[in-house]
Symmetry: C2
Subunit: 398 residues, 2 copies
């Protein structure tokens, strides 16, 4: 390597820090470096700036955010916040004002925004089903009950989990009690529903690959996962990683793992094992289990850095004070961090240079450099949980 300053003919210039700006009520600004942190105890969110690494303001009025997730409009101006109380709230990131709010069910688990940005779909627990709203007006566009036939022949509604968007303006989701995966095609004049039955016991969450091809639901009622190839739905749903527990007794499950995000590196996919202190590694060519990485607790979120060179893992109680980093080449844990108490969620900056981690019981969001593991900032937030940055607006399945 050549130290540039020592190289002939090479000049180095220094510049001052960037001009400080003030976060005003309706500042003219780009929305590409904004984000939302859920403040679960107070039903509020913290609006954050990932360039300055600052909280711009706190906004209240979202109802029950004890479980919540967020999607963004295609112009990256608005956040759609899905609350536990069935509330769907549209937040204007530029003014900090709530631009719309509907209580659309008794209990919801999350949702998705369509490829073209026109529709917001919400998956509901109580009653089960999916409702689709116009993203501009929050007017109801379609109501899809999650009816299924029980063993005794009666009809019931299932809880809907794992709602994602897929190319072709489709939504894909899973029915917990029914063990089914449905797709909802919103591309034509009329929505079209397609049902895959007997996909496995109790799908509890799901993810979709970055190209929108593979929808994978985790199964709670059995060891394994259900895979739907959306390029070939006619092939039906395939069971993958069956029996990964190999008959060993499962530990008590303190918290359901999440499949949000897609931890993928080259041909390898990384998943949390339910009730085990392991991250599972699958070969995405044939979805066979090729590795188990021992970690320090039950994994909850297993997310890959955008450049796929690291996988970051958060854990269930009582091991939720630590975060571990796996090297995707050696498949070994290379770092253990202790950002604070009750780590709930994390989010990479779009190109992966930083990660933001919420430490609920420390009332802090901690920012790290992902290359050096240096702590860069500690921001105040009220019982922070989910962290979501606006670049998700532009990605399939996020």
């Amino acid at each position: 390597m050549t130290r540039l300053l020592a190289a002939a003919g090479l000049a180095l210039f220094t510049t001052g820090p960037a001009a400080a700006e003030t976060a005003t009520g309706s500042e003219l600004r780009g929305t590409g470096d904004l984000g939302v942190v859920i403040e679960r105890a107070s039903g509020s969110v913290a609006l954050v700036d990932t360039t300055r690494r600052e909280v711009l303001r706190h906004v209240g009025g979202f109802g029950d955010l004890s479980h919540a997730s967020v999607k963004f409009s295609r112009d990256a101006r608005y956040a759609f916040v899905f609350g536990r109380d069935g509330g769907l709230t549209k937040l204007d990131l530029l003014t900090g004002e709530i631009a719309g709010r509907v209580i659309q069910s008794g209990n919801s688990i999350g949702g998705a925004i369509s490829q073209d940005g026109r529709f917001v779909a919400v998956g509901n627990y109580e009653p089960g089903g999916v409702k689709v709203f116009d993203s501009e007006t929050l007017a109801l566009v379609a109501d899809v009950p999650a009816d299924y036939e029980k063993a005794d022949g009666s009809i019931a509604q299932a809880k809907v989990v794992g709602v994602v968007d897929a190319p072709g303006n489709r939504f894909v989701f899973s029915l917990f009690e029914a063990g089914e995966i449905w797709t909802l095609d919103m591309s034509g004049d009329e929505p079209v529903l397609d049902k895959h039955r007997d996909v496995g016991q109790e799908p509890y969450d799901a993810l979709i690959s970055g190209n929108g091809r593979y929808y994978i639901a985790g199964l709670f009622g059995e060891d394994g996962m259900a895979l739907l190839d959306l390029w070939h739905p006619e092939k039906g749903v395939e069971r993958i990683l069956p029996g990964y527990g190999r008959g060993e007794e499962r530990l008590p499950v303190y918290k359901m793992p999440h499949l949000e995000g897609w931890a993928m590196a080259g041909d390898l996919a990384f998943f949390p094992a339910v009730g085990r202190h392991e991250v599972l590694v699958a070969d995405s060519d044939n979805w066979s289990l090729v590795g188990r990485i021992p970690v320090q607790g039950q994994p909850i979120f297993v997310m890959s850095r955008p450049d796929e060179r690291q996988v970051w893992v958060t854990f269930a109680h009582p091991d939720n004070g630590r975060v571990q980093v796996i090297d995707t080449q050696t498949l070994e844990v290379i770092e253990t961090l202790e950002p604070g108490e009750s780590i709930l969620h994390k989010e990479f900056t779009p190109r992966g240079e930083h990660i933001w981690i919420s430490a609920r019981d420390s009332n802090q969001v901690v920012v790290y450099d992902t290359r050096t593991f240096e702590e860069l900032a500690r921001l105040p937030a009220e019982s922070p949980s989910g962290i979501f940055f606006t670049h998700r607006a532009h990605q399939i399945g996020l």
Copy 2:
């Protein structure tokens, strides 16, 4: 499939069109659906909105844009326009005003923005070399001459091509006459340069994979490409697809192909063959040539739809009135479109539902639905060439 309207218990509601807004001089708006179209003859750009599919305004004062490219600030508010006259111009997308401009060389070919957004690097033809600027102020930060030793022992400057950003706040670029690939690490207090020599004859352009791992330079002086694995720079540069012309005579090359964008689908990568009516298909596991797809002209831009299911190809004169679409599963051309005269560039919307195509001699940008191939809009633009949307701000190498 179930037609939802016919399904029991399912309701469909209609909503009105989105409220029309006016594009004012300094409108409070999200910047996630903005873009820039280069107007090459007039040295101006058209600011566009991809949701409304409209030109918001035309902005002049960019100098010579007969060859130009664009990068975006990490907040997606500013565009950095690299012009043929060596001008680096910073455009405020919200106000339409030029926020800064420097003539930094006599002739430049393009540039990149660092992972952390702080630095803009420009690759120059005349004189050769790379200059790095502060993205806030456009102050010069580092000046890297592209010195190399010629066969006669004298020192000359090479044209710099294929400048991209890579994780770790690095820039990677190629030296045309020298046949070298250099990396410039901006992560520390001092920039650090690393040189790979004898990579092949006349690298003319380059791309980096979406995860920032593989840097691939096309070679003009020989059939083949040069591959640098940035996870393992110690392994040096490997030659791939050697002799893909198999001794057959090359057609006269009317226009250099571009390697911007990364046409990748699963394990397959798609490249333009220089001087041949073929798109080359390589297996990204070992970079061997696994297919040649006959197309209707000499390919220039070979770009994959974000969901990787299609690859869209533009062509050199005299076949530049048509665009072809390849199915990445069958490796066959499935559609040929004729958007207008002299097709120069194209850009997918972030999630791939639409494509925008510039038809220079028709003075139009044409928007298509990528699923149905339906034409959605025809927008006026003065000799349009490059099209760039703001979601590039959030992607490695774009």
